[in-house]
Amino acid sequence: MTAREEILTRVRRSTISASSSRQAEYATIPRHYEQRGGRDLVARIDLFTDRLLDYGCGVHGCAGNEIASSIGHILRERNKRRVLVTGDIPEEWLLAGFEFAQAGGLSYDALNEFEGVISRCALAIAVTGTIVLRHTPTEGVRALSLIPDYHLCCVFENQVEELVPEGIQRMSRFAGSPITTIAGPSATADIEMTRIKGVHGPRTLDVLLISDENAQEGAS
């Protein structure tokens, strides 16, 4: 018997093994927890902002016609000049005076030479201060938002869901793509339970919250 057969045989000795009743039983799982939030957009953004600040993120806000100047301002404040951008960042968001580069074809060592990365996100979850990245060549492969030490993420306000179940439902539409969820900069509490910002992932995370009624829905 192969290992697979042997394990499945041992499992079957203790299980029901009738997939027809499986579906029916799954449907009866009690889900009395909160699945829909009740906050309006303003309250949702306030909550999201509060969570991000709690994680030690920089939080900035701007209108849809101020994106380029806001990005320029944030990068200058952080003293970042050589910055990677994902494929879904429009050129009109990028002002002169910086060295912006697309990541296509760059080696990991080459990515390591950049000071930071600008990306968008697929959605965000207010109550846990979580940003969700869907990784495609256009929206940015995983290494892009991982290797550089600084990450500026642009989030449209209408991309912010309130609760985790609402976020997961949206994520399930692209479950086949690699996904990273980010809640604040990389951190650890491994030494004496003291929370330290910045271990291996980007040590600094800035979030630019963009209010724009005409903004397109997120990448999802």
């Binding site: 290992a3 041992r10 499992v11 009395h32 927890y33 991982l146 479950a175 990273t180 491994d190 030494i191």
Partner: protein
Amino acid sequence: MSVRVGGAADAPSFPDAAKALVRNTQLRHNVRHATRVIRRKRDQAVGELPDWQQLRDAGHTIKQHTLRYLDSYLQQFEQACTRAGGKVHWARDADEANSIVTGIIRGCQSTEVIKVKTMTSDETGLNAALEAAGITPIETDLADLIIQLGEDQPSHIVVPALHRNRMEVRQIFLEKMKLVELGDRPDDLAQAARLYLREKFLRVKVGISGANFLVAETGSVCMVESEGNGRMCVTLPQVLVTLAGIEKIIPTFRDLEVFLQILPRSATGERMNPYNSLWTGVAPEDGPEEFHVVLLDNGRTNVLSDPETSETLDCIRCGACLNACPVYQQTGGHAYGSIYAGPIGAILTPQLQAMEHSQSLPYASSLCGACYEVCPVKINIPEILIHLRAKVVERGHGPLMEKVTMRTAGFMLTDGARLGAAQKLGRLGQIPFERGGQLHHLPGLLAGWTAGRDLDAIPEQSFRDWWAEREEARA
């Protein structure tokens, strides 16, 4: 087939190991401090959610449902993962898992591998197996790095090096990273780890990870972490191997809406941990070109076979029961002799090994129930502990005289005259052992009690005698 849970089979019994460890005041201080901090954070994060109990109910029911249909969910995961370009392997026991992983690494001509925290690989003793095959495993989680460089054993499921303080960590790093200078602030130590590992992340061609959840519906793997070392390990290498117990399966992607709420709040007291990585097979132009999952049994089907205790497999490894346990808070994790310490370790370790080893662990508890109270998937650990104690006795490994003692006690306590006689006898018998109203170093069976606890001496006069005397005086 031979099940192995780290070095648990050869570990000393819990009371023997604990006796030595509780004398280490530095260790006790470190453990007390760390568990107190996590408990406070956890309570706060959990208290914030109005629907916490409903989430626990859902988590428990999802896990129980999954176990009832585990064979069909395992096959569904296998199909979905394979369709997405992953390769699924099955391992009956620790040795088989280790040899599958070693074979994959050899196949890519690599002599090094970067690892992200996986308890399951500690369970199988993977690092030793790799080293024996000439492959260097590099632990990348900060705590695991401290353990590996310090040639130490993990003492906690979530924060494996919580028994070490900053000065101890500094000393280990100075020596093993061959540094000339290093501060002792946690920041300095984390930066040293960042520098030490960065070059390895960018260079090493094979990564090994564990999994927090395997999604049957989509074939996705979900890994929960904080530092970003996990993202490095599952993204940058050309080949990725994920080692996971068969109980890590959850039915659907939607179920993450429960587990990604209860796990971070229970484990580290965070609303959400900094990073979750989800991947499904291999992705074009992104991450590893080759992806393997090793599904490990190693005794899990032993646990599954007893309906009274199979909910042990619901565990999502949050560590909340360790932090809440008054026994763990005193002894730390090493006393359990298993990489799975604390209340969950006390029920999981002996069951994985079909009750043949670690028989003292079901007794390493005061049955206070704090573990059950905090468990995010509602595993009734106290009840399982009692059930396992019965099993230990049945197998003849328990306190052998327990039955006789209980029967004798029953005989004595059901009759006033017999009790009075026994008390008289006891008063005489205790004389050599009494000091200041306390009994010390009792002989025989009673030694176990006085070795670790205070015991009041039998008083000069019992309540019954006093009552009789009072009635007499009145008359």
